[in-house]
């Protein structure tokens, strides 16, 4: 019988090794897999590539990733610390210890979506003709310049949902879906922390993320305080 539940955050993350790439969902606290982020911190894995909207939220839950310089590359849309004093990641970025691929948020989401959809690359008008798009291939379509962007994939992805069943089907509530819907298909191992587990299969119309895209479900009712 298919059953994608794992017993704990630790078990869910047991095979994350040095050099792994990890996509992490969440926006403004909603859909933020805070327990998995804390768990990632606890693994001690280093030389990581993280693909996450905002580094501030990642540092909030997993400060050790940056304090111990365990992230070598970040693909994100926001790499600004909260305070006036530079954060660890801002210092590492300035020192050339952390490579940051700064993406417009729509391009970020679409690159991930492409990674899960078997689209190796696509053209988008966003960032064509401005500094952030410099160095990218430009092509005209219908008289408008677009830049070529490539797909993003990762070894793992983390997200948080409201409810899941043994098939790995996930229901999101509110605005929890955000980047997770695209990240799960774009990763080899999608891990979802959920608030509740349903012993019966979710109703077809309640399923947002099909279990086909999900490898592991871990029940963590409380998301805890989200710092960011």
């Amino acid at each position: 019988m298919i059953d994608k539940r794992v017993e704990s955050v630790e078990a869910a993350l047991a095979d994350i090794e040095d050099g792994a790439s990890v996509m992490i969902s969440g926006f403004g606290g909603a859909g933020t897999p805070a327990n998995l982020m804390r768990g990632l911190d606890a693994t001690g894995a280093k030389d990581l590539t993280v693909i996450v909207n905002s580094l501030r939220f990642l540092e909030g839950q997993a400060p050790g990733l940056f304090a111990d310089k365990r992230v070598k590359q970040a693909v994100c849309t926001a790499a600004r610390g909260r305070g006036k004093t530079p954060s660890d990641y801002e210092l590492q970025w300035q020192a050339g210890e952390l490579d940051i691929d700064m993406c417009p948020q729509g391009t970020f989401a679409e690159r991930i979506r492409a990674g899960g959809a078997g689209i190796p690359a696509f053209f988008t008008p966003t960032a064509a003709g401005v500094e952030l798009g410099e160095g990218k291939e430009v092509r005209m379509f219908d008289g408008r310049p677009s830049v070529l962007e490539t797909a993003l994939r990762a070894d793992f992805s983390f997200m948080r949902g409201a409810e899941a069943d043994r098939f790995g089907n996930v229901r999101f509530r509110g605005s929890q879906a955000n980047f997770g819907m695209a990240m799960a298909p774009a990763s080899d191992v999608a891990i979802v922390e959920v608030q509740a587990f349903s012993d019966t299969p979710l109703r077809p119309e309640d399923i947002d993320l099909p279990g086909v895209y999900v490898e592991r479900i871990v029940l963590v009712p409380d998301v805890g305080e989200i710092l960011g």
Binding site: G29, A78, C103, Q105, A127, V130
Partner: protein, 225 residues
Amino acid sequence: MVEPLSRNQIAWRAAQDLEEGMVVNLGIGMPVLASSYAPEGREVIYQSENGIVGVGPEAAEGNADPDLVDAGSRNVTLAPGGTVIDSAGAFAMIRGGHIDVTLLGGFEVAANGDLANWDAQVPNKGQLVGGAMDLAFGAKAVRIMMQHTTKTGAPRLLNACTLPLTAPGCVTRVYTDLAVVDVLDGGFVVREILSGMSQDELQAKTEAPLTFASDCKALDAPAGL
């Protein structure tokens, strides 16, 4: 001379231009204030780039749902007929030209409509582009809300932007504390100017040359906002 508009008054003024049925994305900061001031009875659909299609009012105190936030991380509600999609879908909506108007903050706007609103090049601080660039490239109309000058009095309406561009030639209208200015055929056209302010005074606070519309009106907003 009448006082320059407050942030809420600028938001009020911008909101008056939102039309029935429009799909509107409001940027973080001053723009999001506009949702409170759309004329009574006018149905505007607010989209938020984290996936909300039909943002309602902020959640009442004590009634906040931590799983339902907008792109500014505000605890919001859904408007009647609203729903939530994912981020890739929300940006497909933005990039695909389904947003009628976006109201965004700005650092600088050039006379050709160039916008700089994402990278102020603060020393020692990391970058943050977020959804601004997709909105500036994708929305059918890009309208900017900002103070007419910087805190030190330097103009923001320029001949050419000095900061990294968000998008070239995208801005159609700018709402400031002093004026409503359109970008038209590569130049700034003033549609409304603060009551009691002279054209010369406004020009003195503006780097790029201003043209004043023949029907240029007084910029007014309700007091006490």
